[in-house]
């Protein structure tokens, strides 16, 4: 997640959710779940900065930072207020599980953008030897703070059981 680097690769990821409104910007769960947090944006930004700093130290073989990063990524995926990313996945089927959770209809968004801008959870874990087995299945890719440019929504499908209807574009 180093936005200053030359962008060379594009990624297509998916997001499953219960609602979709083209007029509403999709935001990180830490921005949405922070009832009573005085400044959710400051909180979210500081989480991103913390993860970036920990990753940098971990890549420089700082063992305490590596352990802290491991724990922070686990916390990200267990507690919405700790997750400063818009959660997406490389797997359409996983997004479908989220869209259809609780047995009700939902939406699958297909999103495209530069790989280096977001966080590839399993990529970071595997390159640094971090534990995350419980979440491997998600193949999560996180968009920092909001789903905005340079990321674009290419398609939105409403799913209801086995039925799927393209609602965007």
């Amino acid at each position: 997640m180093r936005s200053s680097e030359l962008v060379t690769m594009e990624v297509t990821v998916y997001r499953g959710q219960k609602w979709w409104d083209p007029a509403v910007t999709i935001t990180a769960s830490s921005l949405r779940s922070g009832v009573g947090i005085r400044d959710p944006l400051l909180w979210t930004t500081s989480l991103i900065q913390q993860i970036n700093a920990l990753e940098e130290k971990a890549r420089a073989a700082d063992k305490p930072a590596t352990k802290q990063l491991e724990q922070q990524l686990l916390a990200c995926q267990m507690m919405t207020y700790q997750n400063p990313f818009v959660s997406c996945t490389y797997e359409r089927a996983v997004a479908g599980s989220f869209a259809l959770s609780d047995g009700t209809p939902g939406y699958i968004l297909e999103i495209r953008g530069p790989l280096e801008v977001g966080l590839d959870f399993e990529g970071v874990r595997s390159s640094l030897g971090l534990y995350g087995d419980a979440f491997d299945y998600l193949r999560e890719y996180g968009l920092p703070i909001r789903l905005v440019a340079p990321f674009t929504v290419d398609e939105v499908v409403r799913v209801d059981g086995f039925a799927a209807t393209v609602v965007y574009p």
């Binding site: 779940s33 922070g34 009832v35 009573g36 947090i37 005085r38 400044d39 909180w43 500081s46 063992k63 352990k67 491991e70 724990q71 686990l74 916390a75 995926q77 267990m78 507690m79 919405t80 207020y81 700790q82 996983v94 599980s97 989220f98 259809l100 959770s101 609780d102 047995g103 971090l130 534990y131 087995d133 419980a134 979440f135 491997d136 299945y137 998600l138």
Partner: protein, 216 residues
């Protein structure tokens, strides 16, 4: 954080290490296991067991506060997840539909507080389940029912191995509604769940991994 153990279901060493290394009261045991190795493993059972009955949430660094909620306004017992939601885990399991995904909706408790308490309970119930306490399956399943899909994924996978398939999943996936309802029914009908005590085995495997230099 991962450790190996040939006679243990493959996911359990990872869950054990996750809880051991991140619970405030058990973190120091990691260093003890690293220094003393497997010789310390029999002692750790008592220490872990005691620690997992004391709810305690660590207020995150940089957390500015949640209105009237702060680290100073909550007593130790208030941190217990089921005290916060004012429901018994047995009642959640008995009426799962009423509680489905409830933590994601509007509650009287700020969601970060509830999530902290849920995460705290999740890790304690891991240790208790692995120590053979079958009653820990009930609150764990209640957290799964009320939680978000990520919590369901991790808890269902853990329970699948911890209960030898009575409830939960043998492979990672987000459980669907029918599965969770079926597991709730099984837990209610089982009345008393008996689980193997794997704590010392896991501690030995963990200590061996640490002393081999695979973790620290």
């Amino acid at each position: 954080m991962t450790t190996s153990g040939q006679y243990l279901p493959s996911s359990l060493p990872g869950y054990f290490a996750w809880a051991l290394e991140t619970l405030p009261e058990t973190r120091h045991l990691v260093a003890q296991l690293g220094k003393q190795g497997a010789d310390y493993s029999s002692q750790i059972r008592h220490l872990l067991w005691r620690a997992t009955y004391r709810p305690r949430i660590q207020w995150p660094a940089g957390f500015v506060g949640l209105g009237d909620w702060s680290r100073d306004t909550l007593s130790r017992s208030d941190w217990d997840y089921f005290s916060l939601i004012q429901e018994a885990p047995e009642d959640v399991i008995a009426r799962p539909i009423l509680h489905l995904g409830a933590d994601q909706g509007t509650t009287s408790v700020p969601s970060p507080i509830l999530e902290m308490a849920s995460y705290d309970g999740f890790r304690r119930f891991i240790i208790r389940s692995l120590a053979g306490d079958g009653s820990a399956v009930i609150p764990m399943a209640a957290l799964m029912i009320r939680g978000n899909p990520n919590q369901r994924l991790t808890i269902a996978r853990f329970l699948g191995d911890a209960t030898n398939g009575l409830v939960g999943l043998a492979a990672p996936a987000i459980p669907d509604l029918d599965q969770m309802l079926e597991w709730s029914r099984r837990i209610v009908e089982a009345r008393e769940l008996v689980l193997p005590d794997r704590l010392v085995s896991l501690a030995v495997a963990y200590a061996n991994e640490v002393t081999r230099g695979g973790d620290d």
